[in-house]
């Protein structure tokens, strides 16, 4: 079974709006990562948050982690058309470590 599950499966917003996507996982983790995948490309690492961290920022990205709820959220502020991609969360489990992703579409 998949370790990480993203929600929603698809999200469509206007440029300039914020986008929030969530990830739930099933077992204890040491860290959780978010990746982006543009169409036809490989995945690109965005940010890693460790189990002892609650929030982390990187540019327009804000990631939160709630280990008690086994969930994480990725917030993209002031979205741009170039943010259109699929976003995946991944934990440090060795197998099935990627969820099905959230497909974000930012409309110009």
């Amino acid at each position: 079974s998949q370790q990480g599950e993203e929600d929603p499966q698809a999200l469509s917003i206007q440029e300039g709006e914020n986008a929030t996507m969530n990830c739930s996982y099933k077992t204890s983790i040491n860290n959780l990562q978010w990746y982006r995948q543009n169409s036809g490309r490989g995945l690109v690492h965005l940010i890693l948050i460790r189990s002892n961290e609650r929030e982390k920022h990187s540019g327009r990205l804000r990631v939160t982690l709630d280990t008690s709820k086994k969930s994480s959220s990725l917030l993209i502020t002031a979205s741009r058309a170039a943010d259109t991609a699929s976003y995946f969360c991944a934990t440090d489990a060795l197998r099935d470590i990627f969820g099905t992703g959230t497909r974000l579409k930012v409309l110009a």
């Binding site: 036809g40 995945l43 992703g101």
Partner: protein, 113 residues
């Protein structure tokens, strides 16, 4: 710094034919991963290498899939014989040992007819 290199980028074959994918990881990255990604899904791990040793190949369909990383650098993933259901994107990634961040190649898109 060069990224993860994969070839070919695209491959179309008929079922029952063999096919091979090649991956050259980032220099110095001892850990290498092969993933399969079906349309609309996330990547699924097939095999993970630490240097030349396969440390997790539990998800690799061993009846038709094989992989090798003989010198602990580049790696080859082979399917023989290919089936229609093998159509997918095959992604290679690498990382430094002990580091969680993986660096992905562009993938090989396989179409089995």
């Amino acid at each position: 710094e060069a990224g993860v290199v994969q070839s070919p980028r695209y491959k179309i074959i008929e079922k029952k034919q063999p096919v091979a994918f090649w991956c050259n990881p980032i220099s110095g990255h001892n850990t290498l991963y092969w993933y399969r990604q079906n349309l609309g899904q996330g990547p699924e791990l097939l095999i993970r290498y630490e240097n030349e040793e396969a440390v997790d190949d539990s998800q690799l369909p061993k009846d038709r899939f094989s992989a090798e990383r003989l010198k602990g650098v580049d790696s080859t993933l082979k399917i023989q014989p290919a089936e229609l259901g093998d159509s997918a994107v095959y992604l290679c990634a690498s990382s430094l040992t002990g580091e969680e961040t993986q660096y992905f190649g562009p993938g090989t898109r396989l179409l089995v007819l």
